[in-house]
């Protein structure tokens, strides 16, 4: 393809489009009024969070003192999710119905320096409520009845000593009647023995961005990290920068902490996530925050259960 001709092709588009784009699209996202409003909301939110933490702290600490059984881990997991909701980390609608799908106990383990930055993974339970069947993958088939269908799913790591959530993956099923933001296709190889033979499209896959079903729509990076720091008892946080050498799959430029959290979507061009150092956490071992859109559901991932950097 001749690049000059490609350049000419785009250069000859209809003048009405050129004129329309001559002035920036009005957006309230960065207006001074919104920034002031957000700062006021942040002050009020922090004050409320502080009051709630004080009120809940004593009772929560007594209950979470020891998580010695899978049943206790399940109970504590649900209690801590309520704490997250009351703090404003999560949408009040988040809920995990029925009994946990699976509970796994993991012993203390030291992560490698090269992969996990030497993080010590303490004794914890992973408590899971599966989202259940996603219609787009089942098509005309009926999933077996034992697969419980939920509006929300999760995998929560519960520290057995503190009773805190140390890592969380939270899924929210998307509304199939909503406008998709992205479309791809489910494909099947023409010849499973020969990948080069190509693939045929089975049916379309629709992606949505209903992250407001997981966390408040006006949540910012700063507010989310600040609330997480408060929950974990850390004194603050710092977003990773390029000088930390932990930019492997991170943003190419420093992130504005006032950016909407929902904008930190995994970029299709690179496996994008936020790398965050919490002050008071294990030195040199960051945590991460990542958003993903999958066909039929969205996911928020927080904590240590992922290679960071």
């Amino acid at each position: 393809m001749k690049r000059e001709l490609l350049s000419k092709a785009i250069g000859d588009i209809d003048e009405s489009f050129v004129a329309e784009a001559y002035r920036p699209v009005e957006s309230a996202a960065g207006s001074p009024e919104r920034i002031v409003h957000m700062k006021k909301k942040r002050i009020i939110s922090f004050a409320l969070a502080a009051v709630l933490l004080l009120a809940l702290g004593a009772a929560a600490y007594a209950v979470n003192q020891a998580v010695g059984t899978p049943q206790a881990a399940e109970r504590v997991a649900l209690q801590e999710i309520e704490v997250w909701k009351q703090m404003g980390l999560l949408n009040p609608e988040v809920r995990f119905e029925g009994s946990a799908s699976k509970i796994v106990e993991l012993q203390e383990e030291q992560g490698s320096e090269s992969y996990w930055y030497g993080r010590l993974f303490k004794h914890h339970y992973d408590v899971r409520w599966y989202l259940g069947p996603v219609d787009q993958f089942w098509g005309d088939q009926t999933p077996p009845p034992e697969l419980v269908r939920r509006d929300y799913g999760c995998n929560l790591s519960i520290d057995t000593l503190s009773g805190k959530i140390t890592a969380a993956t939270i899924d929210a099923r998307s509304d199939p009647n909503a406008e998709p933001v992205w479309e791809d296709a489910l494909r099947e190889p023409v010849d499973p023995e020969n990948p080069k033979a190509g693939a045929v499209e089975i049916r379309p896959l629709y992606f949505y961005d209903n992250f407001e079903d997981i966390f408040p729509a006006d949540m910012t990076v700063d507010r989310f990290c600040t609330l997480l720091a408060e929950y974990w008892g850390f004194s603050g946080y710092r977003l990773a920068e390029t000088v930390d050498g932990t930019y492997f799959d991170g943003p190419r430029e420093p992130v504005d902490p006032d950016s909407p959290l929902k904008d930190m979507i995994a970029n299709p061009l690179d496996n994008y996530y936020l790398t965050v150092f919490f002050e008071g956490d294990q030195p040199g071992a960051p945590m991460y925050i990542q958003l993903h859109e999958f066909p039929g559901y969205v996911t928020l991932m927080v904590g240590t259960g992922h290679a960071v950097g």
Binding site: L5, A21, G30, P268
Partner: protein
């Protein structure tokens, strides 16, 4: 800039452009691009070449733009495609691929984060590719 004014002066009439601003921008842009190609024939310019690289990925591999006629055909297809976009998406596409604005500048204009802008542009390009494929251009 003088070249732009001269270009307008020489073409109006017989051209009667409406909207005028779009016509003037096109002349200015095309003159700049022509000069860019003349001066940088043997070098690659990071900014504008990156814009063309992105756009080239959206053109189905079986669709060759080797002649003026094919370029014109692609222009027509892009015009039709732009009509299907929301105003915000159309703004992003035209600012990026006609005006060659940097992603961070687009983010500043729209109030979105740079990452959100690059994700939106990626999705628009994929939509363009699928649209061209559906219209019979081989993928």
């Amino acid at each position: 800039m003088n070249d732009t004014y001269l270009g307008c002066w020489n073409s109006i009439p017989p051209q009667r452009p409406n909207p005028l601003i779009g016509y003037v921008c096109k002349i200015a842009r095309n003159l700049a691009v022509n000069r860019y190609h003349a001066n940088k024939a043997e070098k690659r310019n990071g900014g504008y070449d990156l814009v063309l690289d992105e756009l080239e990925e959206s053109i189905p591999s079986g669709m060759d733009v080797e002649t003026e006629a094919e370029a014109k055909e692609l222009t027509g297809a892009i015009d039709c495609f732009l009509l299907t976009l929301s105003r915000e998406d159309r703004f992003l596409f035209v600012r990026r691929y006609f005006y060659a604005d940097a992603v961070k500048d687009l983010a500043a204009m729209t109030g979105d984060s740079a990452n959100r802008v690059s994700v939106r542009l990626f999705r628009i390009r994929e939509k363009l590719k699928k649209t061209l494929a559906k219209e019979g251009y081989p993928v």
